[in-house]
Subunit: 476 residues, 2 copies
C-alpha cells in the first residue's frame, strides 16, 4: 500500500491547509503551471480541456439567445478609457501598456484590453444606424490582462481567458431584461454543467463594475466557506452608449441613444470547480465538463483476453460519446486507482478475467467512492446513468454543504464569528457606504450580493433601520 499512498502524500491535507492543497493539486494533476512572467499561468492540456468543454456548453446557450461570436482587437488606444469616467478610474491602475512597436515609439500608448466595452462600443457606434440594427448581440472568447499584485492559478492571474458578451438595445427595459436573462443562463449553466449552486443577485454600488448602472453576480461557496464571484452580468444603461455615440434612428424617427449590457465568465471557473468539489484525494470533476469521464483499469492485464476486452469496452463507450481513457501502463491497479482519483475522473471501471468471464464490470464513482457491479452487455447505458447520477448528486451535495453554512447575524460580532467559522452571513444593512466599509475593515468580509426578497429589522453595523439584507463573506 505504500506505493498507492504516494498520491495522497503528494498533496496537503485539504482540511488543514486548503490554500496549499489547492496549489498542490493544480500542479500535480498537470492542470496548470506557472508562466515565466510573474502572475501568468500556462493552462496545460488537462486544464484546457475543461475550458473547451465550458466553451462548448456556453456557446450552445449563447446561440439560442441570438448572441454571435466575433473577435475584437487586443490593443485599445489609452484615450478610449478616459471616455467613460468611472471606467478609466476602475481599470487604469491595472492596465498593461504597449509603448513601442515595430522598433519605434508609438504616438499614442496602447492598452492591452482588461475588458472590451470601449472598443466594442466604438465598433457598435459604426454598425448601429437604425432601430432595425438592434438588438445587436456579440460575444468574444479571448485573453485579457489585469496587472494584479497577488496572483493564484485560475483564480487571479495577470492574463486570463474569458468570454465577454456585449449587447445594445433600443430600450432600457429590454437591456435590463437581457442582463437578467444572461444571469439566469449562467446560473443554469453553473448548476447543470459545473454542479455548482450559486446565489445570484445585485452587487452594492461599491462592488459593481466600473461604468455599470447595475452589476449582477453569481456567488459560489468554496470548500473553506469563502465566496468566489463566478460571473457577472452588467446593465450599463447609456453610460457607454453616450461615451461612444451608439446612436440610431428610432422607429418613429429621431436620433436615440442605445442601452447596452455586458457579461462574462473566465478561467476562474476552473478554480471554482476545483475548490467546490475537491476532496482529500484530489480533484473531483462533474461529468459534463470532465476532460475524461471514465477510465478503464485492466485487472491482471497479462491474462489472455483482458486487454482485448478493455479495448472493446473503450471503443463501445467512445462510440457512444463518452470521453474514456484506457490506462494500459505498467503501474499496478492500486497505483492507477489513486492516480485517476487524484485527477478527478468521475467513473472508474475495473475489468479483470473473472469479471469478463461473468460478463460483469465493476464501476467506482469518484464523488462517493461507491463501487458496484454492472453487466458488461449494458455497459453504455450503465455508464451513462452513472455519469448522470454523479452529476446530479454532486450538485445536491454541494448545495446541502453550502446551505448548512449560511447563517444570520444581528451585529458585527455575529458577522465576524460567522465568517471565521467559514460561513456566508446574512445581515441587515442600512444602505450606507460607511457601514459597508466598516464590515470589510473589521471582518475581512465584503458584501457579496443582495439577498433578494429578504428583510431584516436593523443594520448590523449602525443599528439603524435596515433597508436590505446582504450576504457577507470573505472572498477569492
Amino acid at each position: 500500500m505504500a506505493k498507492e499512498n504516494q498520491f495522497v502524500e503528494q498533496i496537503a491535507d485539504i482540511n488543514a491547509d486548503f490554500p496549499q492543497w489547492y496549489t498542490d493539486v493544480v500542479l500535480k494533476t498537470k492542470l496548470v503551471d506557472y508562466g515565466p512572467v510573474k502572475g501568468t499561468m500556462v493552462i496545460r492540456p488537462y486544464g484546457y480541456a475543461i475550458w473547451e468543454n465550458i466553451q462548448k456548453e456556453l456557446n450552445a446557450r449563447f446561440a439560442k439567445q441570438g448572441v454571435q461570436n466575433a473577435y475584437f482587437p487586443l490593443l485599445i488606444p489609452m484615450s478610449y478609457f478616459t471616455k467613460e469616467a468611472e471606467h478609466v478610474e476602475g481599470f487604469a491602475p491595472e492596465v498593461a501598456v504597449v509603448t513601442h512597436a515595430g522598433g519605434e515609439e508609438l504616438a499614442e500608448p496602447l492598452a492591452i484590453r482588461p475588458t472590451s466595452e470601449t472598443i466594442i462600443g466604438t465598433m457598435m457606434s459604426k454598425w448601429v444606424q437604425s432601430y432595425r440594427d438592434l438588438p445587436l448581440k456579440v460575444n468574444q472568447w479571448c485573453n485579457v490582462m489585469r496587472w494584479e499584485k497577488t496572483t493564484r492559478p485560475f483564480l487571479r492571474t495577470s492574463e486570463f481567458l474569458w468570454h465577454e458578451g456585449h449587447t445594445a438595445h433600443v430600450t432600457a427595459e429590454e437591456a435590463e431584461e437581457f442582463t437578467l436573462a444572461m444571469l439566469n443562463l449562467y446560473k443554469e449553466f453553473m448548476e447543470t454543467c459545473l454542479a455548482i449552486p450559486v446565489i445570484t443577485g445585485r452587487k452594492t454600488e461599491k462592488e459593481r463594475f466600473a461604468g455599470a448602472v447595475a452589476t449582477y453576480t453569481m456567488e459560489a461557496m468554496m470548500r473553506d466557506g469563502k465566496s468566489l464571484q463566478s460571473g457577472t452580468s452588467h446593465y450599463l444603461g447609456q453610460n457607454f452608449a453616450k461615451a461612444f455615440n451608439i446612436e440610431f434612428q428610432g422607429a418613429e424617427g429621431g436620433l436615440q441613444t442605445a442601452y447596452t449590457t455586458s457579461f462574462g465568465v473566465s478561467t476562474r471557473l476552473i478554480g471554482a470547480i476545483i475548490m467546490t468539489h475537491g476532496d482529500e484525494r484530489g480533484l473531483v470533476f462533474p461529468p459534463v465538463i470532465a476532460p475524461t469521464q471514465c477510465v478503464i483499469v485492466p485487472i491482471a492485464s497479462r491474462k489472455p483476453g483482458v486487454v482485448e476486452a478493455c479495448e472493446a469496452l473503450k471503443t463501445k463507450l467512445e462510440e457512444n460519446g463518452i470521453r474514456v481513457v484506457l490506462d494500459n501502463t505498467d503501474n499496478s491497479p492500486g497505483w492507477k486507482f489513486n492516480e485517476w482519483e487524484m485527477k478527478g475522473v468521475p467513473v472508474r471501471i475495473e475489468l479483470g478475467p473473472r469479471d469478463i468471464e461473468a460478463g460483469k464490470m465493476i464501476c467506482a464513482r469518484r464523488d462517493t467512492c461507491e463501487k458496484a457491479e454492472y453487466s458488461l452487455e449494458n455497459a453504455v447505458e450503465s455508464v451513462k446513468e452513472l455519469l448522470a447520477s454523479v452529476q446530479k448528486d454532486m450538485l445536491e451535495s454541494a448545495r446541502a454543504r453550502r446551505d448548512s453554512k449560511i447563517v444570520y447575524a444581528d451585529d458585527m460580532k455575529g458577522i465576524l464569528d460567522g465568517v471565521d467559522a467559514g460561513n456566508f452571513v446574512k445581515a441587515g444593512w442600512c444602505g450606507c457606504r460607511a457601514c459597508e466599509d466598516k464590515i470589510k475593515e473589521e471582518t475581512g468580509a465584503t458584501a457579496r450580493v443582495f439577498a433578494e426578497g429578504e428583510t431584516a429589522e436593523t443594520c448590523a453595523v449602525c443599528g439603524k433601520k435596515a433597508e436590505h439584507v446582504i450576504i457577507y463573506a470573505r472572498a477569492y
Copy 2:
C-alpha cells in the same frame, strides 16, 4: 431589376480591380471591419463563423495525431528572443513591446508574442525529464502580433488569430517525419474543407522561418495568379531545444537534447478562401466551412402555407445537421437572391405555392449558378448531395484553373512574362542566393517552394547547371 443589381454594383469588377473587389466584398458582406488601431481588424460574426469551422475541422485532425490543446502566456520576456540568434533577428523588428504595467515601469520589457517557440521551449524544458515524456505535442489557438507596415484584412494585420502546434521528439527522424505529417494534414484539410488545391514542399533558405532547419509550406494560387502562403510546418532540429535546454534522460541513460517542430495556419486562410473562389457576384464559400450552407427564399410568401412550408423545411434540414437560414425579410426574392449570392451561400432553395403543391423545390448552386428541381420529400438527401457536389466541384474547378496557369521558363524574361500574365512559373535554379535575390528584384516574384522531384538543365538567372526547380510567383 435595378434594385437587384445594387449588390453587384456595390463591389468592384473582379477582373478589372481585384484588390478593390477584395476590400469591397469583405466589408460589404460584413466578414470584417477595420479596428481603431492602424493595421488591426475586427472579425465580425459572419467571418468568425468561418474561423470556428476551421478550428473544428483542424482540432479533429490534431486529436487523431495526439496533439493536445493548451494555452501559453501572451507576454514573453524580451531576453527569451535573444536565446536563438536567427529567431531574434527575424522577429525583433516586428515586435510590440509592453514597458509599463500596473502603473509602473517594468524591470524587463515584455514582447507580445509574434510566435511562441521561445516560451513553449521554456515550458517544455521543465516538463521533459525522460524519454518517456516524449513525444510531447501541444497546440494553442491564440492571437499573435507582428507590427506590419502594409496591412489588409485577413491577409496581413498587426494582430491575427492562428493556431501554433509545437512538438518535441527523441530523434531527428521522428521530428522530421512529424513535420511532414503536419504538412500532409494541412494539404488534406485545405483540399477537403476549403476546396483549395495547394502545392506543398520545402522553402529556400532565404524564405524559411527564423530559427528553423527546414520550413515546409503550402502555396495556393489566388484568382489573380498570385501565391498565398497558406500554412507552414517547420523542422527546428535542435536549435530551440539547445537554446532552451529541452534535455532528457535517454532510454539507455545519458542526457540527450530533444528535436522540435512547429506548425501553424492563421486567419489568412479566410482571405485564401475569398480570393480562390470569389467571383463577380461576390463570395463563394465551400460548404464544409460556409457559415450558412443553405438559404431558403420563400416565393410569394404571403400566399397561405408558404412560410409554414419553408419553416418545416428549415427544421428538417437543421435537424439533419445542415446550417440553414430562412430569409423571411420584406425584401423581394430577387433582392434576396443577390444578397445571398454576394454572401457566398453554397445552395439556395426557392419555395413557392406552385412548388409546394407539386411537392417540389428549386435549388440553385452558388458555384455554377445552375438551378434544378428536386422533390421536397427527399429534401435532406438532395441538399446533402448537392452540398457534397459543390464541395467537390469547387476543388476541381480551382485545381483546373491553377493547373492551367503553371508555366515553365528558361530565363529571366520568361519568368517576368509568366508572372506578369498571372502565372506560377517553374524554372531551374543553381542554388545560390544571388540568383534568388535577382529574380525578386527584377520580377517582384519570390521563390515560393521547391518543385520536388522535377529537374531542369540550367539556372534561369546565371545559366549555370540547375540543382533544383523552383516555383516562382508574386505573393501576398
